[in-house]
Symmetry: C2
Subunit: 328 residues, 2 copies
């Protein structure tokens, strides 16, 4: 048995293979995993790859890398309103470093237990550090939130605050140390927002149950991801645009203490990696969102228009400088 097959066995531990409430008929150990899906449910699947020094600093703590890799994948399930069930892991490693592996598995286990998702298979290979995770979740056919359901007049909301993770990159790249974080609690907060994103699973399910049917998770930045909603919706209906009020963007105190308003706004518009939800809601549903707004969980930032393009509340095209970090 090769070293890398042994590594695969490393992930065959209950903290990964027995978490969550949904068993697999066959999990790790055969040519395929075998899954049973109730007929009224749909299986939601999404695959994401994280490459060292592109999506995270290779020198970051392995536990943080493991946690973050699963969290960003699970975020795609949150955006559909789905409940996580199973994941597979394709891990490519330059060498079999036991300490690194133990820490990586620790972070992965922590995330798995937090999101209730079970490891059912994978592949471990030798090569440059690359992590591909496919997540599987379940959602009832009539409750799935799609990118393509935005309509003119819909209100646009986002969850949480925006721009935090992008701001953290000033600290984690090129200097992936905890030193800065330890000196400053707002930096610690931003740092955590980057390495421990919180997929908005509960919110996603709550919105889907209320009848919200159009959402995306913000991985590429608000403008880019709202743009994905507009283009996906335009494929099945008329052209759409959006008007957003830049003064309404939710920005954390930590981010404001870290930079000026102009840069904070720019990061909120273009910074990826926050993994908050952006969703659109027709007028007849907005009343039901009041408790979430009052709790500060979601913020109204604008509405869908019939004019293509994204403009501010003065009708000017929203143009911002690139945040300086290229998220692929």
């Amino acid at each position: 048995m090769s070293e890398f097959q042994l590594i695969a066995n490393y992930f065959n531990q209950p903290s990964l293979t027995s978490v969550g409430e949904i068993p697999a008929e066959i999990g790790i150990g055969d040519d395929c995993a075998l899954l049973s899906i109730p007929e009224q449910q749909r299986l939601a699947v999404s695959i994401d790859t994280l490459v060292a020094d592109v999506h995270f600093p290779a020198e970051a703590a392995a536990e943080q890398i493991g946690y973050r890799a699963l969290a960003v994948s699970v975020s795609d399930l949150a955006a559909m309103g789905a409940t996580p069930s199973w994941f597979t892991l394709a891990l490519t490693l330059p060498e079999a470093n036991e300490y690194w592996l133990a820490e990586f598995a620790k972070g992965l286990s922590l995330a798995a237990s937090q999101f209730g998702i079970r490891l059912i298979g994978g592949d471990t290979t030798k090569g440059p550090l690359t992590i591909s995770i496919q997540v599987q979740g379940m959602v009832s056919a009539r409750h799935a939130m799609l990118r393509s359901n935005a309509k003119v007049g819909d209100h646009i909301y986002v969850s949480g605050t925006l721009g935090d993770a992008a701001a953290a990159l000033d600290y984690v790249i090129p200097q992936p140390t905890l030193a800065a974080a330890n000196e400053n609690s707002s930096v610690a907060y931003l740092y955590q927002r980057y390495f421990q994103p919180e997929p908005r699973l509960a919110l996603g399910k709550q919105l889907a149950a209320l009848g919200v049917n159009c959402a995306i998770d913000i991985s590429d930045g608000l403008l880019a991801d709202l743009g994905h909603i507009l283009s996906a919706s335009a494929k099945v209906g008329p052209c759409l645009g959006a008007q957003i009020d830049l003064t309404d963007l939710p920005i954390s105190k930590a981010l404001m203490s870290h930079t000026d308003k102009a840069r904070a706004t720019s990061l909120a518009l273009t910074g990826g990696d926050d993994y908050e939800l952006c969703f659109t809601v027709p007028a007849d549903l907005i009343q039901q969102l009041s408790p979430l707004i009052e709790a500060g969980e979601i913020t109204l930032i604008g509405h869908i228009t019939a004019q293509p393009g994204i403009v501010d509340n003065l009708g000017q095209p929203v143009m911002v400088a690139c945040s300086g970090y290229q998220h692929f």
Copy 2:
């Protein structure tokens, strides 16, 4: 939109997204694909990673890399007796080379159409050339072939011929040119066995329908993969071993014209990458396999014993030199 998002769009073409008979409710273009699985069916899933210069020569033709990547993943479905339905692609590329991408997509499309499997999502990232593919297929709950069902007295069969792909590595590594193949038809055959493996989908389904319930695909080499059957079966029952007749191993004329009997046997035992099936069959079923044996599709190579270890027909442990190529 970044260059690598554009690449992702590159795969959104009908030759990949509209093949096969099983549509997705939502395919490429949303946060998740959405799949509907009939209640009496099980979803079989498997993820495989191919790393450049570990699993294939980086300089190989992109069309061959694309074809092979999907074929080796689909082979895991064949080993379960499953019917391919959908796949996702996580492609990491060092640069956006349009010619390479067009050729890669061509090979992928060819394989997709051959195996009847549809692309439903993926992720394209910048980094060292790495391909992760997750395949999904369907199998009825009572027909899935598992590694863990071998019993003492079962006959052991393999499909096709063994050792061909491993022999081809003499030509494709380190010299990935077609020159040698063009000069010699047996080399051309071996070369094709490496780059165009044929997942034994029809055979897998036929065996499963006959009641065969224990199989694996040979990706790591016969000894290693038969070993996986023995250890998986021993986890749910008594310890097992195998006796195989080395003179019965199916070896192609091409391989015999390329090397001597001793090396051919060694390659047949340890060479990976053939993607043939190895399966075990209880005595009451073997009569039904006669047509497959007579057609030369499968070969009886030995039987399952109660003594741990793999021995030859004289009872000597089967020990062979490594084939020289480390398949992870």
